[in-house]
Symmetry: D2
C-alpha cells in the first residue's frame, strides 16, 4: 500500500484531533482510529468513526429486564447468551464506519451485503487512479478440481510469472487507453488539443476489474459480524477474506467482549442438522452408523466428520 502525501497528511490531521465527549469511548479502537491498515498491494481499510461499545449491547439487552431484574448477569455471560441465541437487536445499537480501498471485483462481491450504507467514488465525476491489483505469486492458483468455486494448486513459478506479466501489461495498457479516451495525462493536462475527451462515464469502460475503487462503508455491529462470518470463511475468495481478517482486528479493539463471543459462537461454531445430530447421538451410544445407513448425502457426511475431527 502506498498512500499519497495528501492522504498521509489527511490521516495525520485526523489523528491529531482530540475532542471532549460525553459519549462512551472504545479506547483500544481510538488508538488506531483513522489509521490505514494495508490490504493487498494497494488497498487498505481504516475505521473513521464508530458509536457505542460492549456496554451499549448490554444496556440494550437489559432494557428488556427493567425493574423486574434482581440479579445482574455478568456482561460477558450475557453477551455470550445473546450471541448463542442469535438475538440481533442489542448488537444493532452499535455502528461503525470504514473507509476502504479495494479492487472493483472485490467491491462487486462486497456490495451484495445490502444492510450497510455506502458512498463510493463515482467514475462519472472523478478520474480513477492508475492503481490495479496484481496477486502475489503464491496466490495465483488453478481452478479447483473438487470445488466449483475455489482455487486448487498454486501455479508453478514460470506459469505464475507469465500470468503476472500479462496482467501487468494489460492493466497498464487499459489505463493508457483510459487516459487517451479522457484526452488527459497524469497531471490533468490535455493530451491532444485537436480532440475532445470522451465523457468520464464512458471512458471508464476501458478499465478492467482489478482496478481499485474506494468507499465509505457504515454498518451496525450485528450485520458487521454477519458480513465477517461469511467473508472471513475459508470458502470466501482470498481477496475479500483479507479485508475481513483486517476488520476482525478492528472488532477486537472496538468491542472485546463481543469479539470473544463472536470467536466462540460464530467463527468456531458448527450447525448440525436434525439427521446429523442423530448420527452424533448414535455414535455416543456406541453405534457405528455409516454414510449409507445415516441417510446423509456424501457431502453432509463429510462435513459432519470434519466437524467431529474424524
Amino acid at each position: 500500500m502506498t498512500l499519497s502525501t495528501r492522504q498521509t497528511d489527511e490521516i495525520a490531521s485526523e489523528r491529531g484531533q482530540s475532542n471532549a465527549t460525553r459519549r462512551v469511548v472504545a479506547p483500544l479502537l481510538e488508538e488506531i482510529l483513522f489509521q490505514a491498515m494495508p490490504v493487498l498491494d494497494h488497498g487498505f481499510v481504516r475505521v473513521v468513526d464508530y458509536m457505542g461499545d460492549d456496554g451499549a449491547v448490554v444496556q440494550a439487552a437489559r432494557v428488556s429486564y427493567g425493574r423486574g431484574t434482581k440479579k445482574v448477569r455478568e456482561d460477558q455471560g450475557l453477551i455470550n447468551y445473546l450471541m448463542r441465541h442469535r438475538h440481533s437487536t442489542p448488537f444493532e445499537m452499535c455502528e461503525i464506519k470504514y473507509h476502504v480501498k479495494l479492487p472493483i471485483f472485490v467491491a462487486r462481491q462486497w456490495i451484495r451485503h445490502r444492510t450497510a450504507n455506502v458512498n463510493e467514488i463515482s467514475a462519472r465525476y472523478s478520474i480513477l487512479d492508475n492503481e490495479f491489483y496484481l496477486p502475489e505469486p503464491q496466490h495465483l492458483a488453478a481452478q479447483s478440481e473438487e470445488n466449483r468455486q475455489g482455487r486448487g494448486d498454486v501455479l508453478d513459478a514460470a506459469q505464475g510469472q507469465r500470468v503476472l506479466d500479462l496482467l501487468r501489461d494489460d492493466s497498464l495498457r487499459a489505463y493508457s487507453r483510459y487516459q487517451e479516451f479522457l484526452n488527459q495525462d497524469d497531471e490533468g493536462n490535455e493530451l491532444d488539443a485537436e480532440r475532445s475527451g470522451l465523457a468520464r462515464e464512458l471512458a471508464r469502460m476501458s478499465l478492467s476489474l482489478n482496478f481499485y475503487t474506494q468507499w465509505y462503508w457504515k454498518i451496525d455491529l450485528f450485520n458487521l459480524m454477519h458480513f465477517l462470518s461469511l467473508r472471513a470463511d475459508a470458502h470466501a475468495q482470498f481477496e475479500i477474506r483479507v479485508y475481513a481478517e483486517a476488520m476482525i482486528e478492528t472488532l477486537r479493539r472496538w468491542v472485546p467482549l463481543t469479539y470473544n463471543a463472536f470467536e466462540a459462537y460464530r467463527i468456531g461454531a458448527v450447525t448440525l442438522s436434525g439427521p446429523q445430530l442423530k448420527v452424533v447421538r448414535a455414535l455416543l451410544g456406541g453405534e457405528l452408523p455409516t454414510q449409507e445407513s445415516s441417510g446423509l448425502s456424501k457431502r453432509e457426511w463429510a462435513e459432519l466428520m470434519t466437524a467431529l475431527g474424524r
Copy 2:
C-alpha cells in the same frame, strides 16, 4: 414528566462523564446529551449517542468528486443541493440513538418506520410501571367532519372533564387488575399467598393502549428526517407530533446545516404534480383556469390553492 430518583441519578452520572476522542463531535448536541426532554404527561425523549456531523455528510458527498474536483463548494450550498435532489446516501453516514418513553398507541404508529433499530422493554420479562397518558383538556377533540383521520372541535369543558375522569378511573382499574393478575403490589410483594401470579406475558393483556412503554431507537440521519417530515406534519396525530417536534430540536443541535436545509427543502416544501404545475404556468401567463377546466380533483385543487396562498 416525573423521573424516578434512580433515573435522575443515572442521567446525572451519564452527563458527568467526559472522555477524550479522536472522533468528530457535535458541540451543541453534547450540551444536552442524555438529558430527558419532557413530552406529554409522562413521556420523554433523550439523545443517548450519536455518530458524525454535518462534516461527515459533506465528506461523503465529496468522495464522489475526488481528485477531479477543483473548486470546493461551500458546505451549506452542497447540503442544500443534496437535500433538494433527494440524495440519500451522504446523510446515511450519520447515526443517532434515542431513549424514548411513550404511550403504547404512539409506539404502534412509530414502529411502522422499519428503517430503525429498536430495543423495547418487554412486558414478558418486566412489569410495566403505573403510568398512563391522559390528554390535556385542550387536546380532547371530536372526530373531524371533513377529515376521516383527524380531530375536529375541542370538546366543551364538561364533556372533556367527563372523558378525563373516565379515562383516569379505567386506567387505574386496569393497573389494579394487572397487579391482581400478577399477584404483586407496587413493592413487588405477593398480594395473596393462596394464589399463583399469572405469567407476565398474559397479565399484560389487561393494560390499555395509553400505558407507557420505553425503547432505545437508533436511526441514520436520512431516515430520521423522513420520519420527522411525516410525523411533524399537520396530518400526524398530535401525540406523536410532539415527539417529532422535540426531536427536530435535537436535529438542529446535531447537524445545524442539515437542519437549515431540512427546514427549507422538506418541511417548507411542496411537490406539484404535472397537472398542478400546468395550472401555475397558466396563472403566471395571465390565464384564469378553474378547478373544472384544470382536470384536477377538488382535493388537488384545494391543496394547490393553499400552497399558492390563494
Copy 3:
C-alpha cells in the same frame, strides 16, 4: 373463529375465481388460497397471494452456474445445500402475502420483524370490532420460576376461571367505554344527541391489549423462514406460536422441497459453539468431561446435554 357474513361471502368470491396465467403455480397452496385458518378464539391467518415456487429457488441458485455447469444436481439436494449453508438470496426470489387477524399484544411482537411489508387496519380511521382474546383455561399459566420469560404451571381450575371472568368483564367494559367515547352503538348510531363523539384516534386508548386487529403482511421466503424458526420455537409465547404453526402448514403446501429442508436444517438443527464442539469430540474419544472441566457455563452445558439426548 367466527367470520362475518360479509367476510364469508368475500372469501367465497375470491376462491371462486379462476384465471389463466403463464406464471408458475403452487397447486397445493392454490387449494387453500384465501381460506381462513382459525387461530386462537377469534383470529385467523390466510394466504391471499404468492409468487414463485421451489423451482424459482432452484433457478436462482443455478443462475450462478450458467454455461459452466454440466451435471445438474437434483433439486432437493440443491435446496438442502442452500439451506445448510445459509444461502439466502435464492429463497428471496419467492414472496407470499397473508391476511392475519391477531390480538394487539401479539401484533406488537410480530411487527419487530422489519423485513416484511405491512398494511394494518388503522383505528384512527376505522372503529375496531368488539372482539378480544380470552385464553383457553389450559393456557392460563403462572409465571415460570426458572425462565424469566416463560410460563410455568397451569393455574388450578378455580383460579383460572376467576382470571377468565375478570378478563371478560374488563374487556366488555373497555369496549363499552370505547363506544361511549365514540358516542356510537354497534349499528353506528349516535348514543347521545347531546354529546360529540371523541376522535377515534383518542377513543381507542380505552381498549386493552387483547383486542384484535388485522393486517396484510407480505414477506419473502427467506425472511418468512427466519420468522417461523423464531416464532414456532418453544421459547416463543404460545399466542404467537400458534400463528407460526399454522403458517408452517402453508409453507409445506407452497414450497414442499424447501419445507423439507426447513424441517431438517432449521427446526431440527442445533448450533454448537467451539467449546461445545470440543466437549462432543472429547466424549467421542472416550473422555468424560464435566461442566466444570469444560469451561462451559451451566446453561450452555445443559443446552448441550439436551441436544445430545443425555
Copy 4:
C-alpha cells in the same frame, strides 16, 4: 440483442405454459411475460414473475378504512391520492421479478438500490460470454462542460469511429486473455495441455467494465417506482436510462392506474422549496423578484424558472 438458441427455446417454453390460478392476474403484462425486450447492443430486460395488481394496492389502502368507510372512492382517485401523499405501504403489496442482461458498469450503478433481491451470475463459478457493450456513435459524447457528471457534445464522426475501433479491439483482446488465463476455448476445450487454467475467480480480472453480466432482480412496486424515477431521469447515465424506460413500459402493462399516477405525480412532478414557493407567490401577486432579491442560489433560481417554463 442476439439470443442464443437455448435462450430462445427456453423463452418459448416459458411462454407456452398456461396454468389455472385463483390469484389476480394482470392481463396486459401476461401478454409479454418472459419476452426479452432488447436494450443496448446485447442487453435485455424481461418480466419473469409478478404478484398483485392495481386492485391489491386499493385493497391495502382500504384495509385502513374498514367498516367505517361508507363512500367508496373511485380507484384511480385513491391511487392518485396515495401517490401524491407518498403513502408507500399499499404499493409495497405488489412485487415483480425481472431477468436482466446488462454491462457490468451499469450493474454497478443499479446495485446501489438496496431494496431489491438479486441473484447474479457468478464469475467465480461460471465463464462469462464474449459479449461487451459498444455504444452507438450518436451516444459517444464528450465530457459536459457545465455538468460534472454529464455528457456534452457528440464526438465528430472520425473521433467516434476511432473510439469504437479501439474499444472493440481492447474488448476482444480482453476476452482472448480471459480465455488464455482459463486455458479454455469457446467450446470449453483446453487450449494448451502443458498449462493449468487460472482459477475463474482470478481470470475474470482481465475483463473490462463493458462486459455483460446477468441477474434476476425482484422488487416491490413502491421501490420499483423509486428506482424508475431516479434512473429514467435526464440526469441518469444514458446506458441505465434505457433500461428504466423499457421497465416503465412493463409498469404500464402491470398496473395501469398506478402507472397513470406515476406519470402525473412522479415523473412530471416538481418539488418547490419554501423559498422557491415564495417566489411563485410573489410572481402571482404581480411582483418581479430577481435571483438576487429572492435569496435563491443561481442553480435553484434556474431550476425554478425551468419548472415554470420561463
